[in-house]
């Protein structure tokens, strides 16, 4: 068979045209409507963090939508359907989640950061309805709710069983393994569970806990609790609380004349109280999963400052809901579906090696890569994520934040690798 020159030219032209259009054709194949809902404490004692959580989720979705527009992916739509206020209460949380799932028909709920609320919502609403939930809760019990595969509850924050041991590790490094540490914790699921993990780890290492004070955060004053916490001549202190309540405790502690913030450690939620309008206690240190270790964390912090209302305080933990929006979207893109189970099947795929690493700043390239069928690893603003099959991140890096003088924002003084 012989081809004339014009036939060959036509054939080559067609091949070139197909090669040029291939990605666009692949993109045209992908079509889904992805609906997010936020469930978080917009009022209540954790409102500052709740407002920031809501803003960070919206920010993430806006970034992805902008990228979709830039790439001209008309078949894909993203929507933050609604933000519901859990009021810091499981009952209100379940009610809000029911609205999101049954009326708004969202595919994924981003929230809540209260483990008690997440647990109630996952059990009563999201799991029975086959919806995804990306929580900020840190209770180790949460991922155990995933009784079948794929996991439908995802924890982008390292659970407290890790954090409690990390706290024991860094406190031992400071005071020695046999030191006496008084523990103060809010009397709720978060406070008591983390206090127990720490106390067990601390005693196992040879240390003692002369006083463990569990208190009701809604008490009008915490002077009595402060008095008890300075008893027993401790070498140091551990506090497990949120900033607004911690302020109520720290002021009377200071008045005892026996408390030294420089000998005090706190859990993740106490890392950056000055940013919430509270006071900083120079020398006070707190651990947090290494958000600042994320390569795009600085860019996220800048973006938050630019786009979010100035009255909403920034916290490094807000990288987690922000990242959750990207993880969900990229998993949906790879699955070519907004079906929650399909998304769940792809979460690990887009957050683990092997795969070309992309941050949120490279979301255009990440989308193109997924559409080409390439394997990617989304590197969160909060770190590499590395979701496991149980729905938990496998982070091993923790930042040690330190409060600064003159109410300046806390800074990361050390990033440590946790050694189980």
């Amino acid at each position: 068979m012989r081809f004339n020159r014009s036939t060959i030219r036509g054939l080559l032209g067609s091949i070139a045209l197909i090669a040029t259009l291939a990605p666009a054709l692949a993109a045209d194949d992908v079509s889904f409507d992805l609906k997010y809902g936020v469930l978080v404490s917009l009022t209540g004692e954790s409102a500052p963090a709740g407002q920031a959580w809501n803003a960070a989720t919206k920010l993430g979705i806006d970034q992805i939508k902008a990228s979709i527009d830039r790439l001209g992916l008309e078949g894909i739509t993203l929507e933050l359907t609604d933000s519901q206020d859990s009021q810091g209460s499981p009952a209100a949380g379940v009610e809000g989640a029911q609205k999101l799932v049954q009326i708004d028909n969202v595919d994924v709920i981003v929230g809540d950061f209260y483990s008690s609320i997440t647990s109630a919502v996952a059990t009563a609403v999201t799991m029975p309805n086959g919806k995804l939930i990306f929580t900020g809760g840190t209770s180790p019990a949460l991922s155990k709710l995933n009784t079948s595969t794929p996991a439908m509850l995802w924890q982008p924050v390292p659970a407290d069983d890790l954090q409690g041991k990390v706290l024991a590790q860094i406190i031992a490094k400071e005071f020695g393994a046999n030191a006496k540490i008084n523990v103060a914790a809010r009397n709720d699921a978060y406070g008591t569970a983390l206090a127990e993990v720490f106390t067990t780890a601390w005693k196992a290492g040879g240390g003692t806990v002369p006083k463990e004070v569990l208190y009701n955060p809604e008490q009008p004053t915490l002077d009595t609790e402060a008095q008890q916490l300075v008893d027993g001549a401790p070498d140091g202190w551990l506090f497990i609380d949120f900033c607004p309540t911690f302020e109520k405790l720290a002021l009377p502690l200071g008045r005892t004349g026996k408390w030294d913030p420089a000998k005090s450690f706190g859990a993740d939620s106490l890392a950056q109280c000055a940013r919430q309008g509270g006071k900083s206690y120079p020398g006070f240190r707190a651990t947090q999963a290494s958000a600042a270790g994320g390569t795009s964390f600085g860019a996220f912090q800048k973006l938050f400052a630019e786009k979010v209302d100035k009255g909403i305080p920034f916290e490094s933990t807000m990288a987690q809901p922000f990242d959750s929006t990207f993880v969900v979207f990229l998993a949906a893109l790879e699955a070519k579906s907004s079906d929650p189970t399909e998304i769940a099947n792809h979460v690990q795929n887009v957050t683990n090696d092997p795969g070309t690493p992309y941050t949120y700043e490279q979301i255009d390239d990440a989308i193109k890569a997924v559409l080409k069928g390439e394997k990617i690893h989304y590197m969160g603003a909060s770190g590499p994520l590395n979701f496991g099959p149980d729905g938990r991140v496998n982070a091993s890096l923790f930042d040690v934040w330190q409060h600064q003088p003159d109410n300046a924002p806390a800074t990361v003084i050390e990033t440590i690798a946790f050694k189980p």
Binding site: E45, P48, Q219, T221, Q228, P244, L251, G254
Partner: protein, 295 residues
């Protein structure tokens, strides 16, 4: 141990006075308006924010700021009475109580919207300490004690010596009988909102000072304890609320004293308030100072 007892007594008196003063307003409103006002906590919060604006934003001194907060609290109570609660009167106790729950949520969210969720504090040095031997108190606590020493007797005198005060107690005790004797029940109803708002105002400022910091949930956190106070003192009984608040504050704090078989764990202090409430409702439903009513 004696030092601990002294410190706990002072802590209890401070908390108790706040409960007592705010309880007077709430109990008189209940007695006169037949209304359980679940939005009352937000009156405290609003007043604290008014004081914050006056003290921190405009640089006024704390006393002037507290007076403005009292005036603001009174105005808020009066406005809500005329705009919302009075037009809805007659819907029944349960319906009206639910309306005040909604009103409270609305107010709280307005505060969140306007003031933001940040932690705020009034301009007072909370790190200083007055060491008085057995006890150590902060300037904020000292100021709260000072306010209590002035305001609590003033309220008691107002209720016992002035015509309006006596009328308030009379209407709270028996509305129909008071009306028959010529008391203008409607007018007294308006005055009681002013008094309740003003007391919520001073209570909010005291709470903000004593806690050191506050946010829009300030009043919500203490509302249950205020209700316990008025049940303890006898619903509608102003003196009972004053004393009931102090008793509740002292009981909660002193229960943790090591001299009492090692003391109760602090986390059970609010449980203790519940226990007190349940026992009272079981064995003395009219409260410590209320009169038993026989039909």
């Amino acid at each position: 141990m004696l030092q601990q007892l002294a410190q706990l007594t002072i802590n209890g008196l401070i908390t108790g006075t706040i409960l007592g003063l705010t309880g007077v307003g709430l109990t008189l409103v209940f007695g006169i308006q037949r209304l359980a006002n679940f939005a009352y906590g937000e009156y405290l919060t609003t007043a604290a924010y008014i004081a914050f604006i006056a003290n921190v934003v405009f640089g006024l001194d704390l006393v002037s700021s507290a007076l403005l907060a009292m005036a603001g609290g009174a105005l808020l109570a009066l406005l809500l009475h005329f705009l919302v609660l009075k037009p809805l009167r007659g819907r029944g106790l349960v319906a009206m109580s639910l309306i005040t729950v909604g009103l409270g949520m609305m107010l709280r969210n307005v505060i969140f919207l306007v003031a933001g969720p940040q932690i705020r504090s009034l301009d007072i040095d909370q790190t200083r300490v007055f060491d008085l031997g057995l006890i150590r108190i902060s300037p904020g606590q000292a100021l709260a004690i000072g306010i209590a020493i002035v305001v609590a007797p003033a309220v008691a005198l107002f209720l016992s010596r002035t015509t309006i005060g006596k009328s308030m107690r009379a209407v709270a005790d028996n509305r129909d009988l008071a009306a028959v004797t010529g008391i203008d029940v409607e007018r007294i109803g308006t005055y009681v909102w002013l008094l309740a708002g003003a007391l919520a105002g001073i209570g909010g400022v005291m709470l903000a000072i004593v806690q050191g910091t506050f946010n829009p949930n300030l009043g919500t956190q203490i509302l249950f304890l205020i209700f316990t106070t008025i049940v303890l003192g006898g619903i509608g009984n102003a003196y009972g609320a004053l004393i009931g608040g102090v008793v509740l504050g002292l009981v909660m704090e002193l229960s943790t004293w090591e001299g009492f078989a090692g003391g109760l764990e602090p986390r059970f202090k609010s449980v203790l308030a519940f226990v007190v409430l349940i026992l009272l409702l079981l064995y003395r439903p009219q409260g410590l100072f209320g009169k038993e009513r026989v039909l």
